[in-house]
Symmetry: C2
Subunit: 107 residues, 2 copies
């Protein structure tokens, strides 16, 4: 990346606590990850959940517009409603602009 402006990208940090409702969760989570990966401007995703039910998914996006489009995706809207009604007791979504990145070992 030669243009520093274009090295900016976005992360959506989704921290959540699960309910004990399992029905439909795993299939929907897999489906949404698959569908997110097919969206334009989607560079990647990393997901973790501890045995107590607290988890985080960080998805990376090229722009806020790409995030907005994904938030309004019809299947994703259905998943969001089901998530609030069934699978999550609480969650926080943070939209973050990545300003600096360091790698070890250096690229």
């Amino acid at each position: 990346m030669t243009d520093p402006e274009k090295s900016h990208y976005y992360a959506v940090i989704f921290r959540s606590r699960r309910t004990e409702v399992e029905a439909g969760y795993t299939a929907m989570a897999a489906r949404m990850e698959q569908r997110a990966r097919q969206q334009p401007g989607f560079p990647g995703i990393a997901s973790f959940r501890d045995p107590e039910g607290t988890g985080v998914t960080i998805s990376y996006w090229e722009s806020r517009d790409a995030i907005r489009v994904w938030k309004q995706d019809p299947e994703h809207l259905t998943a969001q409603e089901l998530g609030k009604d069934n699978w999550y007791s609480e969650y926080t979504v943070e939209i973050a602009k990545i300003e600096s990145v360091y790698h070890f070992p250096p690229a």
Copy 2:
């Protein structure tokens, strides 16, 4: 928070892969989390690691200055060197400005 400018804060997203070296790791990780919590401008931390050794720690900060001060903390500098030499095969540090936040259920 009444001033929207002041609702901006920062996240440091530390994604890492561990080596198989255990010696000293758990104690240092606990020590660094304790020490980070004592830094000025440190609102919180969330940490996850899967059984395969991939993990993420997200720490939250009030400003980039607070992040800079913590990066240069003498004990933290020692931990960073030990981490590169012993505990991490690779990691990525992303410094991100939080632009929007949503909670469920709404506060």
